[in-house]
Symmetry: C2
Subunit: 222 residues, 2 copies
DNA sequence: CCAAAAGTGTTAGGAGTACACCCATGG
DNA sequence: CCATGGGTGTACTCCTAACACTTTTGG
């Protein structure tokens, strides 16, 4: 019944250059000094775990209002060599258009790494990132988390690229569009993206409709 | 960075009389004295969260070797009126044939309640049970957790009753049997259950095959 | 011979997958 | 007029869901 230290750690994902990236910060102090770790810190006495995760993310990346979800709680006795630390791990998603918000970041050495090329991580953080990747891949197929990685306005090709980056495989363009269309969760805008070539139709996520879909058990079958 | 109390709480499920039941213990001391709660207790310094969950379950129900899975971690600042307590919630499944093991239970006032008729629960335990029910329903459809609620040898009707109890709806007998058959995860035994009427074929779960199925992404489509 | 649960196939509709060409634009 | 990415439809297969009767046994 002894008390223990409790932290939250957050795996922040985004899409850059058509690849899924995770944000890592370089540790300045032992243990694991010089190694990369996922952002996180101690839970305060008067805040919930969710609040702590939001606060830590804001303090270390100056990012707010992201999709945030609790992942799993890791509590092996010696996962931190200094003392017993229980960590509630979270993952978060941010649209690539909001990356510039990172400018004022507190943590001097924060960097995006492609999830395919992660460096050696401190503590058991590799396990946490792997778990987050697995959860993200699963949730992509039956929820709308994918939209959290896009700006408010996006093209169908951009949406497909999010799915391809996370699932790690090419999808058929026509099948992808038909299935998304059947879900009726996208609202076409009166705008097009001027991109050098043929302009592409822009859409936004129409979340209102999704509630009804969930009740009917209609999902994302990729 | 202050330290906090950390507990594990476990929702133990079983099937009785074709209905899903949860095990609750009556609290003898304040707060919430006299009310029912789910079994749980403090995590010790040198044990992992999983180990703590197994130990608490054993101490309060004298049950071992059950299916056990971490659910979610609840950490609202005032969920325990006495002090800050973080709880890693688990759920566990036990086959109905092992209920007699409960005889030597430590907790004097442990009782099974149908999940449809739960009493008022202490702390935020109602939220925990609801979350466990949701997880169980979801996992039933794409994993083999359902078998954990059955004895080693069971009939197809018994298996179907597990699915019906948890999903809360009747399933078509022929469709159910065809789908289970296609998965090829059941081994028919050279035994039948003599049950007064026409004897039913007994099966056991052939877990070996399931590994391969998971790799292929073949699931339980009910 | 009656009651009770076990066991068994077919059909129609919907979803998934594979696949190739034309279109609009800027340079 | 060419290069680039945007946009579109069909055919086949497979899974799902709906549906009713016969069999075996004990009493």
């Amino acid at each position: 019944m002894q008390e223990m230290k409790v932290t939250v750690d957050v795996v922040l994902f985004t899409i850059r250059a058509r690849a899924l990236h995770a944000l890592l910060v370089r540790r300045g102090v032992p243990p694991f000094a010089g190694q990369y770790a996922i952002p996180g810190g101690f839970v305060r006495r008067e805040e919930s775990l969710d609040e702590a995760a939001k606060r830590e993310l804001y303090e270390e990346t100056s990012v707010r209002d992201v999709y945030l979800e609790q992942l799993y709680t890791f509590g092996e006795p010696h996962r931190d060599p200094r003392s017993r630390v229980i960590t509630a791990a979270y993952y978060a998603l941010i649209g690539s258009e909001r990356l510039d918000l990172m400018a004022g970041a507190d943590a001097a050495e924060a960097r995006w790494f492609p999830t395919q090329e992660l460096p050696k991580l401190a503590f058991d953080h590799r396990k946490i990132v792997d778990y987050a990747l697995e959860r993200l891949r699963n949730k992509l197929e039956y929820t709308t988390v994918g939209f959290q990685l896009l700006p408010e306005k996006f093209t169908l090709t951009e949406l497909q690229e999010v799915y391809e980056a996370i699932l790690g495989k090419k999808l058929d363009k026509r099948n992808f569009r038909r299935k998304i269309g059947l879900l009726r969760i996208l609202k076409p805008l009166r705008e097009r993206r001027e991109t050098g070539r043929k302009p592409a139709q822009l859409f936004r996520f129409a979340a209102e409709r999704f509630v009804k879909l969930k009740e009917k058990g209609i999902l994302f079958p990729f």
